[in-house]
């Protein structure tokens, strides 16, 4: 049981925003075509909602205002974190 769960959760996790959006567009095209059966439609909707959540989270990650730092500051910050 615990062996199946990670497999299911990684299935819907896209590796990038663009791949998520690409898949989302595919899904919506497929749904708009009206060719999907009921089961497929419901599965696509579920997958679509997961993708939307992922995309929203990605957008939220860059939605809090621009942060600036210098490369040496970044290095120093990472060093202090490592220490």
């Amino acid at each position: 049981m615990s062996e199946n769960e990670p497999e299911q959760s990684t299935r819907a996790e896209p590796d990038s925003y663009e791949s998520a959006v690409e898949r989302l567009e595919e899904i919506i095209d497929r749904l708009d075509s009206g060719q999907a059966g009921l089961r497929e439609t419901l599965e696509l909707c579920t997958e679509g909602r997961e993708l939307v959540n992922y995309c929203a989270a990605e957008l939220d990650a860059v939605g809090e205002g621009l942060k600036e730092l210098r490369l040496d500051e970044l290095a120093a910050k990472l060093d202090s974190q490592a220490a």
Binding site: S16, Y17, E18, V21, L24, I27, I28, L31, D32, A36, L38, T41, L42, L44, C45, G48, R49, V52, C55, A56, E58, L59, A61, V62, G63, E64, G65, L66, K67, E68, L69, R70, L71, L74
Partner: protein, 458 residues
């Protein structure tokens, strides 16, 4: 050792000077560094990324060149003409090699472009222009690196471009000089340092506008080879004219302004993306609900289908039943008519026979009736005569007839005849019936008894 010599070194040094001066005169181009002057001549190095040559120039030759004021300075791109020379030194001075320039001018666009074109051809032939372009560029990076001058409009424009995107990620600055011979190595180092940070997903290299000479650092072969081999996409926005510098050729994307570079670094317009996402949500919801709704309607229609078919079948059947009934009724009617015709014939025959029999019977009855009537009359007459006799006898016994003759009939109140004195004395009252009416009387014995019963009461 079977070599010639040994020769006196001074003589050899002069011979070397002669040999040097015999070499062909050429033009050289490069960046000036280490400018200095003595009483009679100017000296400097002319270098590029691959190497350098020490140069000397007589001051009178330099004046003849009529360079603009201050043009012979570190960082200037110059074209010089001359040939190699060797100063053999003396008992008191050190020997030295130099390129003796007799003519000098500032490198023009044409010179730089020619050199640039040669480099471009070479790097393209090596396939270095394609490497960066094959890298995947994230549409929504969270962290980008920027190499630019610490002061300048480029930095401000880039930030404005990012803000317009609605992008609020992290910008990691790696400031570097962007003009002079130190620029190219510094920029290359900055790029490598940024690319070494795993969180940095794209790097922008930007600088404001200038002449090709000003931008020459961005045509540096070493820098451009470095960019080509980076595994992080580099977006160049150097100067204002597209494709004027070599870094534009090797970069993943070349932009004309820092604002455009911001858009290339973050291809996704975050504001528009949020709206798109809203639309996607709406489309999904519509499809999800629509799929169920439309299917439910379809199912409903399908479910009604059999009922309709049944109804159709039923109507058809009913129609057939009506037809069959009509047909059978027609058949029955036909048979009925036939049977009625037969029955009529049979019946009329039977009626005729019955009538004949009835007529015969009536005639017979008539005959019998007449005889019967006659015998009946006789019997009646006999009975009537007998009855009259009985009536006479009966009248003789009728008590009423006795009353008419003056006798009295004693009765109870209820009309029962009282036929003995004992019975009469037991009654409180007796009704006497005369021929003309009734009289109630009280027997005397009964009277005495009654008064006796009354006197015995206390």
């Amino acid at each position: 050792m079977d070599l010639p010599g040994p020769f006196p070194v001074g003589r050899y040094a002069r011979k070397l000077q002669e040999e040097m001066r015999k070499r062909a005169r050429v033009q050289l181009m490069g960046e000036v560094t280490g400018v200095g002057r003595s009483r009679k001549q100017a000296f400097f190095e002319l270098r590029d990324s691959e190497g350098a040559v020490p140069c000397t120039m007589w001051l009178n030759d330099l004046e003849r060149a009529k360079l603009p004021e201050g043009a012979l300075r570190d960082g200037a791109e110059l074209v010089i003409a001359g040939g190699p020379d060797y100063f053999p030194g003396s008992a008191a001075s050190s020997p030295s090699f130099s390129f003796r320039a007799t003519h000098v001018r500032l490198a023009g666009e044409g010179d730089l472009l020619a050199r640039l074109e040669a480099l471009r051809k070479q790097l393209r032939a090596e396939g270095l222009f394609e490497l960066q372009k094959q890298l995947a560029r994230p549409r929504l990076p969270k962290t980008i690196g920027v190499v630019t001058a610490e002061t300048g409009a480029a930095r401000r424009d880039l930030l404005a471009g990012l803000a317009r995107r609605g992008w609020g990620g992290s910008v990691v600055w790696a400031f570097a000089p962007v003009q002079d011979r130190h620029a190219a190595p510094a920029i290359a180092t900055a790029l490598q340092d940024l690319a070494a940070r795993p969180e940095i997903e794209a790097i922008v290299v930007t600088r404001g506008g200038g002449s090709l000479a000003d931008l020459w650092a961005f045509c540096d072969e070493t820098l451009c080879r470095t960019v080509a081999l980076l595994r992080v996409p580099v977006i160049s926005a150097v100067g204002h004219e597209r494709d004027s510098t070599l870094i534009d050729d090797v970069a993943a994307v070349a932009c004309s302004t820092p604002t455009h570079a911001a858009e290339a670094a973050v291809p996704l317009d975050c504001l528009a993306a949020r709206r798109e996402l809203q639309r996607a949500v709406a489309a999904l919801r519509r499809s999800g609900e629509g799929a169920i709704g439309s299917r439910a309607r379809h199912l409903g229609a399908l479910a009604r289908g059999p009922a309709r078919a049944l109804q159709r079948e039923r109507s058809g059947l009913n129609q057939k039943i009506r037809e069959i009934r009509a047909a059978s009724e027609r058949g029955i009617a036909d048979r009925g008519a036939f049977q009625r015709r037969i029955a009529t014939v049979v019946l009329s025959r039977a009626r005729r026979r019955a009538l004949q029999r009835a007529e015969a019977a009536v005639a017979e009855e008539g005959r019998r009736g007449a005889a019967l009537e006659r015998s009946a009359e006789r019997a009646v007459r006999r009975r009537r005569e007998a009855l009259a006799g009985v009536a006479v006898a009966l009248r003789a016994h009728d008590p009423e007839r006795t009353l008419e003759r003056g006798f009295v009939l004693a009765e109870t109140g209820e009309g029962e005849p009282v036929t003995s004195a004992a019975a009469a004395s037991a009654l409180a009252r007796i009704r006497l019936r005369f021929k003309d009416g009734r009289v109630d009387v009280t027997p005397a014995a009964a009277d005495a008894e009654a008064s006796e019963r009354a006197s015995r009461r206390p």
